[in-house]
Symmetry: C2
DNA sequence: TTTCAAATAATAGTATTACTATCATAAATA
DNA sequence: TATTTATGATAGTAATACTATTATTTGAAA
C-alpha cells in the first residue's frame, strides 16, 4: 500500500484546487522549481506557464495572483512541518528532547519526502529561507490574516509554544520565543550563506552550527 | 550654530548624490513618506515623481532603480542608528547597561530627529520593520554584498557583537546574537501589530514588552 | 450512446511598471 | 559671454499582471 500525505489547504488561497488535477499539481511543482531557482521577484505566471507547457490563462484559473500562490506553497510547507513535528515527537516524554527535535527540524536542510509526489520539500525549505517572510511583509497583511492565510504558521507557533511551556511552565514568552526560533532558523541560514559576517558560523556552512546556536539560546533562556 | 548630521553613504548606491541638491533631498523625503504609507511593492518612481512635482526621468537621474533607493534609505538608517549608539553609550562603563541601551534603541519607536532635515526617522523606523529584510532577501544579494551595500548593517552588528563580548568574553555567538537582536526587535514589533498570536505581548501593543522579552532572552543567554 | 457541462488551449487585448532616449530650457560656473 | 550641468517635458519600449473571448477536448450523467 502506498501512503500519500495530504495537507488540507485554506480554499481561499486558490480558485481551483490544484491537488485535484494534473495541471494543478504541475503548477505547484513548477512554481516551487522556478521560485527556488530564480527567486520570487523574477517569478511570473507567463514563465510558469511556459515551463509547464500551458498558457498564462491556464494558471490564472487556479490562482488569482502570484502572491496567493506563494502563500499557498508556504502554507503547505508549514502544514508538512507540523506533521513532521507531531510524527517525530510522538512518544517522546522529555519536553527538552522534543524542543531539540523542533530546532533540528527547522534548521536542518530537508530531504525530499517521497510521499508527496509533486512537492520537493528540499527546495521548499530553501524557498522558506529566502522568501518566507514575503508572505506576510506586505501592505495587505491584515486582509490576508483575516482570511486565515497564516493559520498554519500560527498553529506551528502554538505547538512549539506548548513544548516550551512543558520545559518551563513559568516562561513568559512562549509564542515570541517560538516565532524567534522559526525565523532565526531560516535567517541565520540565509546569513550564513550570503552575509556570513552577520553570523559566527565557520566557512563550513554547516547547519549543525545554527542548531548549536539556537539550542544554546533557547535552553539558556528557558532554564529555571 | 546649527549642527547638521551627515551620514556618509556608499556612492555605488546612487547615480547623483541626493544630499547635494534640493531635488535629491526631496526624492529621499518623499520616498520615505510613500514607502511608509503604501509599502515598497506599491512604490513606483512615477508616483514618487508626481508626489515631488518632477518627472520620472528626474528620479532616474539620481537612482538606477527603486531597489537601490530602498537600500540607500535603509543604509542611511543603520548609519544613523550607529551614530545614536555611539552617542548614547559614550562614557558608559558597564557593558550590560550598554547592551540594554542597544536593545531599547532598536526596539523603541523612534522620534523624528530634527538635526536631519529631510529624513523622518520615525517613519524610517517603521519602514525598517516592514521592508528592512527586502533589502537583502533578493536573488542578487551576492552582487549587492560585493558592492558593500550592507556594510552599515555589518558595522552595527559588529559594534553590538563587541558589547556582547564585553559582557561575556567567552560567549561563542556574538554576531549571530547581534543579528538576532536587530531582526527580532523589528519582527516582534511587526508581529505584535499585525499577527499578534505569534507573540506574547498584550493588546496594549507597547514596545516596552518587546524590550523586556529581548532583555530576558539576551541576558539569560550570555550570563556566565 | 448521446448530451451536456466542465476544463483546457489559443489568442487577443489592456493598464501599469520599469525603464531609455531625446531635446529644450534654466541655472551655475569658468 | 560661453559653456557646462541640472532639470523639465515628452515619447517610446519591453515586460508584467492581469481580463476576456472563443474554440476544443474530456468526462460524467441521462
Amino acid at each position: 500500500m502506498k501512503l500519500e500525505l495530504q495537507i488540507k489547504m485554506n480554499p481561499s488561497l486558490y480558485l481551483r484546487d490544484p491537488e485535484q488535477s494534473e495541471l494543478g499539481k504541475n503548477i505547484i511543482k513548477h512554481s516551487i522549481q522556478l521560485i527556488h531557482d530564480n527567486g520570487f521577484e523574477a517569478f511570473t505566471f507567463k514563465k510558469l506557464a511556459e515551463s509547464i507547457g500551458t498558457t498564462e490563462a491556464g494558471v490564472y484559473r487556479y490562482f488569482e495572483n502570484k502572491h496567493k500562490l506563494l502563500v499557498y506553497i508556504i502554507s503547505w510547507y508549514w502544514g508538512w512541518i507540523q506533521f513532521q513535528l507531531s510524527y517525530q515527537t510522538n512518544n517522546i516524554e522529555d519536553p527538552s528532547i522534543k524542543l531539540k527535535k523542533v530546532i533540528t527540524l527547522l534548521s536542518k536542510n530537508v530531504e525530499d519526502d517521497i510521499t508527496t509526489g509533486h512537492v520537493d520539500e528540499a527546495q521548499l525549505h530553501q524557498i522558506l529561507i529566502s522568501e518566507g517572510s514575503k508572505a506576510y511583509l506586505t501592505n495587505h497583511v491584515g486582509i490576508d490574516n483575516k482570511q486565515q492565510f497564516f493559520q498554519p504558521y500560527k498553529d506551528l507557533c502554538n505547538a512549539i509554544g506548548e513544548i516550551i511551556l512543558e520545559c518551563n511552565p513559568k516562561y513568559k514568552y512562549p509564542h515570541s520565543l517560538a516565532s524567534t526560533i522559526i525565523e532565526m532558523a531560516h535567517l541565520q541560514n540565509f546569513f550564513m550563506n550570503h552575509l556570513p559576517s552577520l553570523t559566527d558560523f565557520s566557512k563550513s556552512k554547516d547547519e549543525s552550527e545554527i542548531i548549536k546556536y539556537l539550542e544554546d539560546l533557547v535552553f539558556n533562556t528557558i532554564r529555571i
